[in-house]
Subunit: 433 residues, 2 copies
């Protein structure tokens, strides 16, 4: 099929008005998407065949990602998309030498590539009539290995070794697919823990989370230690000893303060500390991990690319890897990252929330369970109950689990009415603001 | 003084037509600048007081950096610029939580911040009537320490320790300023070594470099091993055993191939291997360094920020640090990086070339010599003889040394005629292309 046009949209939701999403580094996010539509010359079931994808930002600067998406347009418009060569499609974007200079493989151009690559997978899923998790999970091991860009990885994992991993997991695929369809994939919720919420709201939402079947919640920390001690105590009292409470500092600390702060929170048994410091600081995370054990160290939503993930694993810097669907180069780079994590035996617990991140990332974890790691042990996908109503195929959570999506594509298509109303700056929501 | 407006320009030079700047990863660069003019409500010597700065790209995507510069405009336009608080100015840009999300501290938004921060230093230098190297070198140690953003650095270097370093260097400042003014700062040249050049051109330019007083040249490698062996042999024969030949792979290799390739080049005594692999790969550089000794490992032009520099030093991953004036957040982040390098005793040999990078970065090395490391031993600034004619105050090279600039500012102001002619896509050079 031929991609006849690439369309980029600047879509923003005024979430800062309610302090949803507030944390120690991001006090007033307006959840936003630099959104891509790939149009083709084909149709399915009488409707034009399109791919939808996006990258996530928190407001200002979303237009920079839109500009970066448009910078890739000459490489995409008019191109044939071979659903059997999505690795090649991805590498053609990422290896453009002039655009690569703006990273390499990081920042706005990389996020833009993520939006386009995810849109291509949404398109391929719709063309095949399969949800993307299943499209991936039904590929031959050789096809999966070919999705990844192996440059810079071979000192940690070769394509040959990755192929062995995938072949070892192949016999169990059918049974795990049944399990996934029957039980869903475990989730945890960040809904109770935003920094801008009152104590009463924190306690009420924590109790609701447990009643809803979640076995893990998450609290934002890092702005004020006394507040954190009080809030963590309230949350622990609310959920009891059997529920895991993760805490998330959103990159607030240097190495020594991270260790000190976490020692002060230890009496309330936090499960993991997320983003204690800069996402670029492999050696810093390793030092913090040594300093805060048995509390686990988690990071990944802001890790720029597979080269930094590789080093986090090589250095033993993290206990939990938190992939993001749209910060690295979409499905293809995340496939490489899932293979790395499986090779090192580190569980992947994706970052989600934002706008559409839950919808997108569930496909990656479900693929991982069926075809890569083969396990959901100590693995949970983040869930936040924001903005799902804007999507055609929103996530469904039942008893603390993501229900495996059945609709073709990557669940990344926003409703046309939302695209129009929240368009920045000319949609009605912003015009009247 | 008040910044009344921020103007962003997309300026591109069609260098790909001559294969100037061609290397193993960047076959056809069009050297470009996302260029900033800060206009103020003041004047000096009857001329309006302005600051000029830029970041460097190689063509496509330059418009993305321009968009990122414009994204900062609301933080800059109408702001008071206190030349005594350029650290504060810099941190206000870099800590904007919504724009930070697009990095953090990397990619297009970080390069845009570099352009603006360098323009602010150009402005401050012009306001004070001093070249920026001297503006910096005459600051009190406390003022210099306050330029840096210390977040994420304190496990390697605290502001208190940095202050000690600067105080220790203070008594020698006057004598070193005299030395610098008399002798200039050592340079090396990359002019002979572009991958697209013929063997004859390589030999001729190598001989010319030695005749011009350079004691180090650099060759691009990494596309084809047989070619590299032949070219390095030709260059070694042309310059003789006493001249250093650095080689530069521009991120072409994984760890094992880097070591193998360099073993094959060892007979020709390369001085350093530059960018053997991904600039994000701290542990990979450390492994390569162990594998290629006594050849030195150099990197830095694509290192995104001070956190990655910190780790390169902590891990003993590099022998030579190659700062870039415009990829990290301009003068302020480079001050932090120079302090880190001095603390770890690693020499800084800046990346230059491109468009205007020589002009900008000389100020940083000269400041380093006078006020930070206090040495030019094993330190050279890259020199490439491209595109200097477009600048108001171009670099001057005498006997293989950069002459210390005397004009106020950062030497980053492009001629108005060049800004107009090379404007993309509407300047005459591109309109007629």
């Amino acid at each position: 099929m031929k991609i006849v046009s690439l369309e980029a949209h600047d879509v923003r939701f005024p979430t800062s008005r309610e302090l949803d999403g507030s944390d120690a580094m991001n006090p007033d996010p307006d959840y936003s998407a630099a959104y891509v539509v790939l149009r083709t010359d084909e149709s399915r079931d009488g409707r034009p065949l399109e791919g939808h994808g996006f990258c996530f930002t928190i407001g200002r600067g979303n237009e920079v990602c839109v500009a970066a998406i448009n910078a890739y347009a000459p490489l995409v418009e008019g191109a044939e998309l071979d659903p059997g060569d999505l690795g090649g499609f991805s590498r053609r974007l990422l290896h453009d030498s002039q655009l690569r200079w703006l990273g390499p493989e990081k920042g706005a151009v990389h996020m833009a590539a993520a939006a386009i690559i995810n849109a291509a997978f949404d398109l391929a899923g719709k063309a095949a009539g399969l949800p993307v998790w299943r499209l991936l999970a039904e590929m031959a091991p050789e096809q999966i290995v070919d999705l990844a860009d192996w440059r810079y990885l071979t000192d940690a994992l070769t394509p040959e070794r990755a192929l062995e991993l995938l072949r070892d997991a192949a016999p169990g695929r059918a049974a795990r697919t049944e399990t996934l369809l029957a039980r869903g994939y475990p989730a945890y919720t960040t809904t109770p823990g935003w920094l801008g919420y009152t104590d009463d709201k924190l306690v009420r939402l924590s109790r609701e989370a447990v009643a809803d079947g979640f076995t893990q919640i998450k609290l934002k920390v890092g702005a004020d230690l006394d507040d954190d001690v009080r809030r963590l105590r309230l949350a622990r009292d609310a959920v009891g000893p059997g529920v895991r409470i993760a805490v998330d500092a959103n990159q607030r600390w240097d190495v020594a303060p991270a260790i000190e702060w976490m020692r002060a929170l230890e009496p309330f048994a936090p499960y993991w500390i997320e983003e204690p410091t800069s996402p670029d600081d492999v050696l810093g995370h390793a030092a913090i991990r040594r300093g805060v054990a048995p509390v686990k160290v988690a990071t990944g939503e802001h890790i720029a690319n597979r080269v930094l993930v590789k080093q986090m694993l090589q250095a033993g810097a993290i206990d939990v890897l938190q992939i993001d669907a749209c910060r690295v180069a979409g499905v293809t780079e995340n496939v490489a990252i899932l293979l790395l994590a499986a090779a090192y035996g580190v569980p992947v617990c994706p970052h989600a929330g934002g706008v559409g991140l839950c919808e997108a990332v569930q496909h990656l974890s479900m693929f991982d369970f069926v075809a890569v790691s083969g396990s959901t042990e100590d693995r949970v996908i983040e869930y936040v109950d924001h903005l799902h109503e804007h999507f055609e195929d929103p996530v469904r959570i039942v008893q603390g689990h993501y229900v495996a999506p059945g609709a073709p594509g990557m669940s990344t298509q926003m409703k046309a009415t939302s695209l129009a109303a929240y368009a920045h700056p000319d949609g009605e929501i912003w015009r009247n603001h």
